[in-house]
Symmetry: C2
Subunit: 148 residues, 2 copies
């Protein structure tokens, strides 16, 4: 019997990003895992579909995970996202008390990781960047090239 290889959280985040692109949304995907590595929530960007400027992948994943756990805090949980979170999502990550943030490529224009170093930030996650950075950057470049 073949041993089934479990999909990594970042692979799943990329699948969410690809699905977002197919919906015409900026391709960003996010996944939240618990302490044992189990996936609690996964989401892709849906700002257009939901007509909601706050419906970034990270926000949707945080809201799903909070709902699943009936808690407004995700203490000890980790977030994987294909792109550096924007300033809004950085705040939400802080409010949710995310333990570790793993992300793909930096976002030079909208990246919000600087928020974690500000005086308004009362919880900052450990940050691991550059996870699948090239794949993420390529996906975004392709998406914006096709939209022109």
């Amino acid at each position: 019997m073949p041993i089934s290889r479990q999909q990594s959280p970042m692979d799943m985040a990329f699948e969410e990003a690809e699905a977002a692109a197919l919906r015409g949304e900026v391709p960003v995907g996010a996944v939240i895992t618990d302490q044992s590595g189990q996936i609690i929530a996964a989401a892709g960007n849906r700002t257009i579909e939901l007509a909601d400027p706050t419906a970034h992948a990270e926000i949707l994943a945080i809201r799903k995970a909070c709902k699943a756990l009936s808690s407004e805090r995700l203490t000890g949980l980790d977030l994987y996202v294909t792109l550096e979170p924007c300033n809004m999502c950085a705040s939400a990550i802080s409010f949710a008390r995310i333990r570790r943030l793993y992300y793909g490529c930096d976002d030079d224009k909208m990246g919000g990781r600087g928020f974690f170093h500000s005086s308004q930030c009362h919880h900052a996650p450990e940050i691991y960047d550059g996870i699948g950075a090239q794949r993420s950057a390529q996906m975004l470049q392709e998406f914006f090239r096709n939209r022109r």
Copy 2:
């Protein structure tokens, strides 16, 4: 026949804040109006009730207004909120293209209006602060005093 006095958007935001306090939520209320001053959305803070760290009054009001207008942008619309928006809400206000932001008291600890001056911010509203500032500050002080 008595002339009925229309409630001001800020009065309504205060009502939302008071209702939030009665639910045990940090008392903050927000209202969104269109170009003719009509109220499109109103909301109070519901982070505990909804187990959602993003359920600030401003975010809920923006999401309601966007849903009502089937648009992820609220170009030309104004937001009234009893407290200076936090960094997360400032970003959402920017994404939603809110025209004017009217708010009550400053939030020295969590206030996010500084975001509007950052390089990540691609739309900043006109800002009118100090609207009912004393009432807002008193309400918050009372709430936190009672919680101790």
